[in-house]
Amino acid sequence: MTANQLIRWGLKPAVFAAALVPAATISYLTWAAYNGEQSAWPALTGNLSANPLSDITNRTGLWTLRFLCLTLAVTPLRRLTGWNGAIRFRRMLGLFAFFYGTLHFLTYAILDRFMSLEVPDMTSAASWRALTVWIADDVAMRPFITVGFTAFVLMIPLALTSTAGMIRRLGGHRWQMLHRLAYVSAVAGVLHFWWLVKLDVRRPAFYGAIIAILLAFRVFRARLHAVPRRAGPGHPPVPELGSMDRQRR
């Protein structure tokens, strides 16, 4: 088996399956909570607290941040170890960040908001309108929701342009510029967490530190490898170094 095959048929499916474990756990816990039950395997799934709504919201949110961290860790890992195979996990991890972000948003939109409507009727346009107004209101009025929603929305174009076809269509350089939105999303995600907690900021600070390190790595590396700009008019600045540029040049 070549290294290529090992990644394709061994490591990638394994990572994929592992990345689904939290979603499976959360789904199971939601189901248990819906039936008013406790987890039957607390050693594996963790216990539901007395507040399942907050458990599910917190778990989906935390996994979004974790997958954002993992996604942003791919490039530094690749540079530090020289293992180029790492890049082949980046899209998958990024899409999982989006996946958990979507679950987090749906938990808020459906469990926390829709089900709080006076009449939560799936078939009624009025219910959906009320939900939209409510969410818009939250996004506009509550800074922690504003940044959280921003973090989520910024991931949508990244997920949509994650295919090989879209990379080709956009061109490597433009694609890469667009996908730097992931940095904004990660920082906004940490802010969202930070502004949510009442006083104890240790956990948001932990994720903030990880993301700060991962972003600092890129800044230092870009500085280290910066190509001096050519003098004179007519020459666009040389784009910053990145894997795509390298392949292109």
Partner: protein, 322 residues
């Protein structure tokens, strides 16, 4: 040498019992290690130690029912003792359930100070002397938009206040709670100003709904719920109901409670349950009655105790005095 044809399964291929069990041990150990590694990564203590409900307390006898009790279904002992906001034992909801084991609720005494005729240190047993304890089943609404129904055991705070005879200068009552780092690991974290302080206006403190609670479900109060003695004010957000009280001061000036000191824009002195006045970061219009998956109830003015307490606030702008 005779070469025997193997029958069906050669004995060499039958797994030795010892190996068989070793293999199970190995899988168990490997699963365990993986779980520990996963837990380490997740940082979720819940994976490793399930929240233990508090051990049952000592039963009180001769408890009287109360006309103020709700007939709503009470939350379970387990829910009430594993989901706590008690920052002295950690900021996560499940931390007090582990950490409060270090609290020593006996012997206990409460110092009464300030504008009173009889400043003194009262032993816990003396506080209860001659007091008729009641079952008081109250709704508890947390400022975080969840609620429970809790069967407290207690007696009106007003009875105790009458005993210590506050002077005419006493306009407010201040509750100072235990802050002992040897018993309370959360104190090392500079999350709130310690000791935790709460306060009430004199008429709020004298209100018949306001109780000093010493028990839960007819038994002595579990540590994580504020053993051995705490105040309960059912029409205010939960943080007003100070736990493990060591000092009661009668003062002329309005006290600055710990949450107000930490975040004055978000937490005020009054902190009455009010669906019309949102917390700056979230709506207070609805709440999740635990355990629940949805915000399954509208929040009611004064947590449903408006008939009894609204007259305390006539003429007051509750939006300003949040």
């Amino acid at each position: 040498m005779l070469i025997k044809r193997p029958t069906d399964i050669p004995s060499s291929e039958i797994t030795d019992k010892k190996v068989y069990f070793n293999r199970r041990d190995f899988i168990r150990a490997a699963t365990g290690t993986a779980a520990v590694a996963a837990a380490g990564f997740i940082g979720a203590k819940a994976v490793l130690r399930a929240q233990p409900p508090a051990p049952r307390g000592v039963k009180f006898t001769g408890l009287k029912p109360s006309e103020f009790s709700t007939d709503e279904k009470a939350n379970t002992w387990e829910q009430i003792t594993t989901y706590n906001n008690y920052y002295e034992f950690g900021t996560a909801k499940d931390e007090p359930a582990y950490n409060a084991r270090r609290l020593k609720p006996s012997p206990w005494s409460v110092a009464v100070e300030g504008e009173v005729a009889k400043p003194a240190v009262y032993h816990f047993e003396d506080i209860l002397k001659g007091v008729a304890l009641e079952d008081r089943i109250y709704r508890l609404r947390c400022v975080e938009a969840w609620s429970m129904v809790i069967p407290w055991v207690g007696f009106p705070l007003s009875e105790f206040i009458k005993r210590v005879q506050p002077t005419s200068k006493a306009k407010f009552v201040e509750f100072i709670t235990l802050a002992d780092a040897t018993q309370m690991p959360g104190l090392r974290l500079g999350s709130l100003r310690w000791p935790y302080v709460e306060g009430l206006r004199m008429d709020e403190a004298m209100h018949p709904l306001t109780i000093l609670s010493v028990g839960l479900y007819g038994e002595t109060l579990p540590n994580q719920n504020g053993a051995p003695i705490r105040v309960v004010i059912p029409w205010k957000y939960g943080f007003k109901s100070a736990k493990s009280i060591v000092k009661i001061r009668f003062v002329e000036q309005q006290p600055v409670n710990s949450w107000q000191f930490a975040q004055p824009s978000e937490y005020g002195f009054y902190s009455n349950v009010n669906p019309q006045v949102d917390h700056p970061r979230w709506s207070q219009a609805r709440e999740v009655r635990l355990p629940g998956l949805f915000k399954n109830r509208p929040t009611v003015m004064f947590n449903g105790y408006a008939d009894q307490v609204s007259k305390l606030y006539t003429g007051m702008d509750l939006r300003k005095n949040y």
